[in-house]
Amino acid sequence: MDFSQLLSDPIGFIAGLLTGLLTGIGIPEPAARVVLMVIGVIVVASFCLVFPLFLIWFERRIVARMQDRMGPNRVGPQGLLQTIADALKLLTKEDITPIGADKIAYNIAPVLAVVAVISIWAVIPFAHNIVGTDVNVGALYIVSVGSLGTLAIMLGGWASNNKYALLGAFRTVAQLVSYEVPMILSLLVPVILARSMGMNDIVRAQEVWFLVSAPIAALIFFASSVAEVGRTPFDLLEAESEIVAGFHIEYSGMKFAMFFVAEFMHAFTVGALTAILFLGGWRGPFAEQYPILGVIYFMLKAFAGYFFVILLRATLPRIRIDHMLDLNWKFLTPVSLGAVVFTIVADKLIPLGAAPWFRAGVLFLANLLLGWITFWLLSGSARRMRQAEEGGEAGHGEEHGGQAEEHAPAHAPAH
């Protein structure tokens, strides 16, 4: 057990140390392994529960900067302890269960919301040997765990016995279930390029970042992931001006805080997943020798992604519900299908032993072609619609005008 191992394989080093400690006091080897696994789970879960304390402060400060305000800056250095004070305040609040609420479902919902987010982090590689568990179906696992989050929001909305909460839950289903389609399709592109669903394999395959080989898939993944989190501009599930607060309207104290923690951690997870799938994850100079550098690279990239989520939140207005569905079904889903087909064809055309840069270049050109076709189709349909609208107004007046309105695509926000 030498010191250089701590640098090259910190988790293995600590595991070896602890195993030695446990077997030293008479615990058999298999039981020690189980204890180590439990410790690993606790570490990852606590990271996910404590990290939002920092994320919330970070986001409030950044949004405040963007809106020309100061943000929290009184408690602790730079206001860093503000969230801890807020958390303590939430802990002391009364825990209310509304009359007529379904007790079991009402109490399970916030737990499920947090569990769904924490579970994602089980497969996130911080560095090539710092990863919870490197399952070979990582991408599919992330999708499957994400659906638990939908369930949590639905349960919370339904169990609160409140019509606004129920309305929020309905919107959730419409939004989260539909945006899962382009998200999964765009997730398929890095899986095809890396020829594996394991998260670590996807990172390893990115000699050239997949952002170069699959820019369209990256954009679609990012946009639909933001919709999955339910953040501005897709925060219809908690639109204050329409349905008060949506699904968590009846929740108070720590249960509300759990939804809050889940949302912030999920937003950061979007950044982390984008970093892993398209920005090369922990890859960087010397990341293989010193995994701790990999963690730093990964965190920097994840925060870059998270910063964009915040930027969207601070700058975009809320999108209307029909536009939200139009954007998904008429724009994101077809384009992501196109991206999958283009990637497959381009990838097949490239000879096997080609240099990574050549491969990335060809795929980038394929993406350019897809982008050009999309733009051409969109502008064509927009022109036809405009002509139909003008013709309709001249001929029949309101009737046709209304119909053209109905068919007007909501593509504008995507660009």
């Binding site: 379904d102 939908t150 669903m197």
Partner: protein, 166 residues
């Protein structure tokens, strides 16, 4: 008894209990929640068999799609959610008898079979093997394509049914 067997027995018991609760729960949403528990424990069983892909698919399809659809349908009909009527009708004893007979027959048949046990471990890239098998003309290509076409037909059919008639 190894730890794997203990986990298996606990999971199997959870599956059975939650399945029982699905049919006995009076509240429809609770029944749906128990259904999710039971589907999830089946996913755990897949994990125990080192079939991670099937476990993930089980969660995506059954919990992510089907169970959420069921809950959504129930939520839209909140008024009839609570079942106040009797849970059985006069023929309950007959169906119980048939179910018991079926169980006995299944147990008898399965106990007669000698299962060949393979000593080979699970291949490392079982996922890759599965993927190859699905598109191999000599293996499962035809059923796979037929199922794909069936799903496509269902997809187009639902759009036709839902679309407005001009």
């Amino acid at each position: 008894m190894t730890s794997l067997q203990i986990i298996f027995l606990a999971t199997a018991a959870a599956t059975l209990i939650s399945s029982l609760m699905v049919v006995t729960a009076r509240n429809l949403v609770h029944a749906a929640l128990w259904l999710i528990v039971s589907l999830f424990t089946v996913a755990v069983l897949f994990v125990l068999l080192e079939a991670g892909f099937l476990a993930a698919v089980q969660v995506v399809l059954y919990i992510g799609a089907i169970a959420i659809l069921i809950i959504f349908a129930i939520m839209l009909t909140r008024r009839v959610m609570q079942d106040t009527g009797p849970q059985t009708n006069r023929q309950w004893w007959l169906s119980a008898l048939i179910a018991a007979a079926l169980l006995a027959a299944l147990i008898f048949t399965l106990s007669q079979v000698q299962y060949p046990l393979s000593t080979a471990g699970v291949p490392d890239d079982s996922l890759r093997t599965l993927g190859r098998a699905l598109v191999d003309p000599n293996q499962y290509m035809l059923p796979f394509e037929v199922a794909s076409v069936l799903l496509l037909v269902a997809l187009i059919g639902s759009i036709v049914v839902a679309g407005d008639r001009k």
